[in-house]
Symmetry: C2
Subunit: 345 residues, 2 copies
């Protein structure tokens, strides 16, 4: 390992040491097919590379990007990193960015428009090469601004019509759940739908509802409860749903695992055994789902891949290429929370 702090030795130092000009050293170390272009004699090139390695030379990215106008920095904005779903997607980003020699800033917007704008400005003032937006609201105002300002960006997790995004096929995911619950014989169902400004919430709900109706079922509007995405939101929503004596559903679809966990808690408080008295299905198949005391059925979305794809798309946008949105395919994982065969045993 280099045991000195990066930055202690510059291109000029290397050049001086070897009696060369900095530009020559630069070409040797960073030139692409420069070797063919007669950049330097092979022997010299080797001397340079050897010394560079020996003294642990690492180019100053600030200087480089001052000159090249590229920072190799990406900005990532998410509602909150403490949302496991986004955290996992970020791991995918981290990995893919790393592979492409980019580094990333992440910031939390708490889904607050003012904060979104502020954080975006911070990232832009840092001169990021592009933005991955994980907290897009369906109204898309901010996105229109960004487009006008010619900032390269892509959406992740949540889609907005007209902008490139990397998402899960949420409509399909919702449909899978509807099919499953229908097959299990459920005819009275409710949806904990999430935040109406998020495409994830809207699409999953829509996919669920339309499939359920297509199968011949009925879902009144009142059975669709919009809520926060976290456990508390899920609990509150489920509380409301279960309190209604006139229409007590035998199954609840929560568009998010955390909301589902909250709903499980609520069911419990109402004296209902999840998986026997009421079925509950979540979304994302976060690592917790399978491990809960009563294992939670959930739609597995390829979160890591979504992050990775987002980076790939963004790099293409930065390169000036046109890109299309990517929708990754979800898979339903049925577990005890909605498996009546288990409850019957």
């Amino acid at each position: 390992m280099t045991d000195i702090r990066p930055g202690s030795v510059t291109l000029k130092d290397l050049a001086a040491e070897l009696g060369l000009h900095p530009s020559t050293v630069s070409r040797i170390l960073h030139g692409k097919a420069d070797a063919a272009r007669g950049a330097a004699a092979p022997a010299t090139a080797q001397r340079v590379r050897d010394l560079a390695k020996k003294v642990g030379y690492s180019p100053d990215p600030q200087a480089t990007s001052l000159r090249t106008r590229r920072t190799h920095l990406l900005g990532v904005i998410v509602p909150r990193l403490s949302d496991l779903v986004l955290a996992v997607m970020y791991e995918g980003i981290d990995e893919a960015a790393d592979d492409a020699n980019y580094s990333t800033f992440v910031m939390n917007s708490r889904d607050d428009t003012a904060i979104q704008r502020r954080k975006m400005e911070i990232m832009l003032s840092r001169r990021v090469d592009g933005l991955i937006i994980g907290d897009a609201h369906l109204d898309g105002d901010i996105l229109t601004d960004l487009t006008e300002r010619k900032v390269p960006f892509v959406l992740m997790n949540r889609a907005v019509p007209g902008f490139a995004s990397a998402t899960c096929d949420d409509t399909l995911g919702g449909a899978l759940v509807a099919q499953h619950l229908w097959d299990q014989g459920h005819r009275v169902v409710s949806v904990i739908a999430g935040e109406p400004y998020a495409s994830t919430a809207v699409d999953r709900t829509h996919g669920f509802v339309s499939r359920f109706r297509a199968l011949g079922g009925t879902i009144p509007e009142s059975a669709i409860v919009w809520s926060r995405f976290d456990t508390t939101g899920g609990r509150t929503a489920a509380d409301g749903i279960l309190r209604d004596e006139d229409r007590r559903p035998s199954a609840i679809f929560a568009v998010n695992d955390f909301a589902a966990i909250g709903a499980m808690g609520a069911a419990n408080s109402h004296g209902l055994l999840v998986g026997r008295d009421v079925a509950i299905v979540g979304f994302n198949d976060t690592s917790l789902a399978a491990q809960l005391p009563i294992a939670l059925s959930s739609v597995r979305s390829p979160m890591l891949d979504i992050g990775r794809v987002a980076v790939k798309l963004l790099l293409r946008v930065i390169n000036g290429d046109a890109v299309e949105s990517v929708q990754l395919t979800p898979v339903l994982c049925v577990r005890d929370s909605s498996d009546f065969a288990w409850a019957a045993s």
Copy 2:
């Protein structure tokens, strides 16, 4: 808002527009008490500031740090951001860094020494002003290297003797749990101890064991099971513990909420009702704990504050000040999972 992309207008542009020299503009916009030092006439200063705001001038951070040798960038390394505990701490960091006009890189090391080193090199090659290390291993090899290389850094979450850190008082936290379980009448207890290279695991376990013994209890070494920090790790560990017919504990302390959740699942599989047949207590009081179907008792650690304090400490280190480690105080939150009064009712 500025509706142009930052970077489109430079100091030189401003100067030219106003018939001033760039250096004058620089002093006006960024000088501290320069006003007093006769930097510019008040009227001129105002003209400059007005124009800067009007055209949305924002200084190029690359150029600035090339000159000042300060990047206003902090590097944060965590085992994985998908660990809710670290994610929340990072939110604290994000917030505090933002307040101090710093931006942060976060990277995941998966607690793998090779990756830790690699990510650190990446951050250093980005010329971060300092590092917050959230994945320190007790052996501290990497930390010694960093110290020798004179890189400013502080530890977070996990402590290592001899280095400044921002942590929870884990020993106290463990002791609180021991006292609670003892008071509830538990005499046969087990510990799911976490990873032995993490101070969090070691200290919580140690705090627990020594208090329990001080109270007159016995805990054989075999009752302490080291495990991964996640749900799967907790489940496996608890499985082993509960399988032992000769010594079935009436209470289990898991040093981490996720491990505790896994343990709850295991208890369930063994036909035990958590809170009645077996008490389980976790650590960190993550947002899930209170919302679980059976609410989980847990030691609340001030995660957000730990992140904030880490930033404050680091900024002091960067400034060349000497700093002392900070230990924040945890609080025990008793819930159904270890409240026998509830189970009795």
